[in-house]
């Protein structure tokens, strides 16, 4: 199965490789947003040649936001939603109550996980192992969980079990700079421990530039079946309808 859906591959796709069964942790900061990485992986998953079903959990933006952005990238989210290839979980209004209510009320993270699992098990056989779960973003999930880092980690852990048991892929975005003043940034460290692929967006060491918006570092830990550590670093420029990726100094 061609993972990038037949589109010409770019540096990001090469660095990430096949997504099946992997957990991709995306880290960014206020200076350099990595939202475009999420959009790119979403578009890649929904390409016509790939059978992937996407479950998108949003704590950050409503459906219309992603619909507008993906439309510019050439992907119709509304149509994909109607075709049952794209499922949107709007968690913007969710707020954690307490542990007991979590189990009884049925609208917390435990319930969300239950819904995700049920959705996957209800899929036709051939689609069961090409599911991508995306979370935008983990820091807002923590806010909605009233700071309960453990609950967020439990949720991520359970989603991770889906990657190892069913071959799903998991993509989660978090903001590194939020934890920079914390002595022990547990949440982001735990995510880095859990992740098989870590994509970090940072500003250039030399500061702002017109033609380069930042740099991406992709650490691919290998899937444990022969491929080993791969560390890539390259620059990017976010344009209106696409993103350019290039090695430093290779642009004229």
């Amino acid at each position: 199965m061609e993972d990038n859906g037949g589109a010409p591959s770019n540096l990001l796709d090469d660095a990430v490789g096949a997504l099946a069964g992997r957990f991709v942790a995306v880290e960014d900061s206020v200076e350099t947003s990595a939202a475009f990485v999420l959009h790119h992986l979403l578009k890649r998953a929904l390409s016509p040649l790939s059978p992937t079903v996407v479950l998108f959990v949003s704590f950050a933006h409503p459906f219309s936001h992603y619909d507008r952005i993906l439309r510019k990238l050439g992907c119709n989210l509304a149509a994909q939603r109607d075709n049952k290839r794209f499922f949107f979980f709007d968690m913007l209004m969710w707020e954690y109550q307490d542990r007991d209510e979590e189990k009884t009320r049925g609208d917390g993270l435990v319930a969300l996980y239950g819904e995700i699992q049920k959705l996957i098990s209800d899929l036709p056989e051939e689609r069961k192992n090409s599911v991508t779960i995306m979370i935008d973003d983990v820091s807002l999930m923590e806010v909605a969980a009233k700071g309960s880092t453990n609950l967020v980690l439990d949720f991520l852990h359970y989603c991770h079990t889906l990657t190892s048991e069913l071959g799903c892929s998991l993509v989660a975005l978090n903001h590194g700079d939020i934890y920079s003043s914390t002595e022990r940034p547990t949440l982001i460290l735990q995510m880095e421990y859990l992740a098989g692929i870590l994509i970090k967006a940072e500003p250039l060491a030399t500061g702002l530039a017109k033609d380069v918006h930042g740099q991406l570092t992709v650490l691919n830990r290998g899937d444990g079946q022969g491929s080993r550590y791969k560390l890539c670093n390259f620059h990017f420029k976010v344009k209106e309808n696409n993103v350019e990726y290039f090695f430093p100094g290779s642009r004229s």
Binding site: V110, Y113, G114, Q117, K118, S121, N150, L153, D154, H157, Y158, H160, T161, S164, E165, L166, R184, P185, T186, L189, Q190, Y193, L194, E202, A205, Q215, T217, L219, R221, G224, G226, R228, Y229, L231, N233
Partner: protein, 295 residues
């Protein structure tokens, strides 16, 4: 940091050829949903109940070796996960109890020290007879998390590291060993530490965009600079270098000073007698420049 996993699953007890799966459903969220799981001997659905966990481990172990004199080992991946769900004291209690059980020969556990406060790591180290720790080869000087400015070091640190071991012997003595560990495709290789002090110094020197050290050529050039007023003592007239012209091309314009031996001491000419009082010091050396002041 080298990523040495015991298995491809987290939070799993591995008992000889038996596994207690605390990874797939540690909190019972999957109750009611049946997912196809691989044939695992046993699974734990409530890792918060440490007492139950302990008895399950012992049961499984005894199931493997029987009730006789044969003993079993337990490996825990990872204690860091356990401590998320239960208190440090209860997890320490589990380890202590396991350790003192007649049929348990040894226990191995994994702890990610960067996820816990020092006292938590210390508590588990205290319990153990051997502590093996893996650290990056190059410690970042100010303890900062790695970022792009440290990219070359980052690249190295994922496949290699320093492996420290501290054994507590029965006679009370402590033995410490250190090796370099390299994670290959399917292997982990240990070699003795390379005594490359340059590597250590790299970590201590701040990373700025200008050179704080001298290159070899610069060192040689510096050594061959002729200092003004220095007594060269090779019989030739000393030439004072006034700093504006090179020594070689303007000989006739140079002022010569008598060496004081073979030439007459003309009282109308000035003389400069210079004795170098100390060896050339490297900048920023620790020596106090005023130590030989005689006030």
């Amino acid at each position: 940091m080298p990523d040495i996993k015991f298995h491809s699953f987290l939070s799993t007890f591995f008992l000889g050829s038996s596994r207690l799966d605390c990874y797939s459903d540690p909190l019972g969220w999957k109750d009611g949903f049946s997912l196809e799981t691989s044939n695992v001997a046993s699974s734990c659905k409530n890792v918060k109940d440490v007492h139950k966990l302990l008895s399950t481990i012992i049961e499984l172990g005894q199931g493997l070796v029987g009730q006789g004199k044969v003993r079993f080992s337990a490996a825990i991946d990872s204690v860091s996960e356990m401590v998320r769900h239960a208190s440090v004291s209860s997890v320490s209690g589990l380890l202590s109890n396991l350790r003192s059980h007649d049929q348990v020969s040894s226990i191995f556990w994994l702890l990610h020290s960067d996820l816990h406060e020092d006292r938590v790591t210390a508590a588990f180290e205290y319990l153990s007879t051997m502590v093996a720790s893996v650290e990056p080869l190059n410690q970042f000087g100010n303890g900062q998390r790695s970022n792009m400015n440290t990219f070359p070091l980052l690249e190295q640190s994922f496949a290699k590291g320093k492996f420290h071991v501290r054994f507590k012997r029965r006679n009370g003595r402590v033995r410490v060993a250190c090796e370099e560990v390299r994670v290959e495709q399917s292997d982990v290789n240990f070699t003795s530490v390379s005594s490359d002090n340059g590597m250590i110094n790299e970590g201590l020197i701040p990373k700025v965009q200008f050179n704080l050290q001298l290159s070899e050529k610069e060192r040689l050039d510096r050594a061959s600079v002729v200092l003004p007023f220095e007594h060269q003592g090779n019989g030739k007239p000393i030439q004072i270098y006034d700093g504006r012209r090179s020594l070689t091309n303007t000989k006739d314009e140079m002022t010569s000073v008598s060496t004081g031996k073979s030439e007459t001491n003309d009282s109308s000419k000035g003389e400069i007698i210079y004795f170098r009082d100390s060896e050339d010091e490297m900048p920023d050396s620790d020596e106090d420049p005023d130590y030989d002041l005689d006030i």
